[in-house]
């Protein structure tokens, strides 16, 4: 009995570093799959003064940004369902994206030079609203009515609000720059407090 147990225990005693070695091997696999284009979506997490932000890209560009209030699992599950389940964590493949976000969050970058993948934005008016939003410069705000006008329909401020509320690319498509006509920042997917802090970061709102 003890003899049987000891044989089975000796077989089951994985080398002590198995968990670490497996994590290393998995990380190497993820970067390799990204570099070879076998992974259809890559993602990474970026620390910021506002919390941890997630960012995902396809071969065409950045496809989604998850603000700090978004759980990583939700973010990935939605990408798996809407873009592709071939998703790996490959910070190396997202080096430039991570650098630009980090610079922005720390007040050292005003404009992004990233390619964007618009596949998660429905066509038509929604896309026009978000494209117009993407052209708003750092520190400049517009009202919902104004952005609706830039998108070709000044009366559609409500639809513009809906389009902005479903923005899959917050920060890089700066929907936080769209505010209420009374001057109140208004709603934000990442929470009204984050919207306020981003506007303060950009000097569009004074700290209060």
């Amino acid at each position: 009995m003890t003899r049987n147990d000891s044989l089975e225990q000796a077989l089951a005693a994985g080398s002590g570093d198995l968990a670490h070695a497996a994590a290393d091997a998995a990380a190497r696999f993820a970067e390799l799959a990204a570099a070879k284009g076998e992974a259809e979506v890559t993602y990474a997490q970026v620390d910021s003064p506002f919390g941890t932000t997630s960012v995902a890209a396809t071969g065409s560009g950045v496809v989604a940004v998850g603000l700090p209030n978004r759980a990583l699992d939700d973010f990935l599950d939605e990408l798996a369902a809407t873009v592709s389940p071939r998703i790996v964590e490959a910070p190396g493949a997202l080096d430039e994206v991570r650098r630009e976000l980090d610079q922005y969050f720390n007040g050292r970058r005003e404009a992004f030079e990233l390619k964007l993948d618009w596949q998660l934005v429905p066509g038509g008016f929604y896309r026009k609203v978000l494209r117009a939003t993407a052209r708003l410069p750092f520190g400049v705000t517009a009202t919902y009515g104004e952005i609706a006008g830039k998108a070709g329909n000044p009366r559609a401020h409500r639809a513009a609000g809906t389009a902005l509320g479903s923005n899959p690319l917050p920060i890089v498509v700066p929907c936080h720059r769209i505010v209420r006509s009374g001057g109140d920042p208004g709603n934000y997917g990442g929470g009204p407090d984050l919207k306020r802090r981003l506007l303060v970061l950009e000097g569009a709102l004074s700290e209060s």
């Binding site: 994985g14 198995l18 390799l32 799959a33 389940p85 071939r86 998703i87």
Partner: protein, 160 residues
């Protein structure tokens, strides 16, 4: 890509099975070659991710790992080594907890070796071992027990 939309993100799958796959491969091809087989296993799994479709993910990925290990053994058999470099046994090294014991495992018949590695190095249940190897749960159990019996014999022989 709609056909695979119900699958979990590949990273989640990778995290869930990487230790079991690496543990199994270390047992079956040795630590030196386990990493290459690991990379090939998950690359094949990613390409074939649709075909997971409802199967037990652990058994599914282990079956791929087993095929990669078989490919590896075949490639090694085809590649003649200079006599001086021929290893006495299948590459036991200090990375493995008990090189002598796993050297003995390497000497088992294929099915028993695979079943023992799946049971102990990858911690699979008999049902999953059966699914991985395409045999019944009872046959998986028999292969593990027969493998253990032979190991006990060979360990005893080495002691005396």
């Amino acid at each position: 890509m709609a056909a695979v939309a119900h699958h979990e993100p590949f990273q989640t799958f990778l995290n869930a099975h990487s230790a079991a796959v690496l543990g199994f491969l270390r047992g079956i091809v040795g630590p030196a070659d386990a990493d290459d087989c690991f990379q090939e296993t998950f690359m094949a799994a990613m390409r074939a991710y649709e075909s997971l479709d409802g199967a037990n993910p652990r058994s599914w990925v282990m079956a791929i790992a087993r095929n990669k290990a078989i490919d590896h053994h075949r490639a090694r058999a085809r590649r003649p080594l200079p006599k001086a470099e021929l290893p006495e046994r299948a590459a036991p090294t200090e990375d493995r907890p008990d090189p002598e014991l796993w050297g003995a495992v390497a000497g088992l018949p294929d099915k028993q070796r695979t079943a023992v590695a799946l049971r102990f190095a990858a911690d699979l249940r008999f049902r999953e071992i059966g699914q991985t190897m395409g045999i019944s749960e009872a046959a998986a159990r028999r292969n593990v027990h027969e493998g253990l019996r032979k190991l006990r014999e060979s360990v005893k022989m080495e002691v005396t």
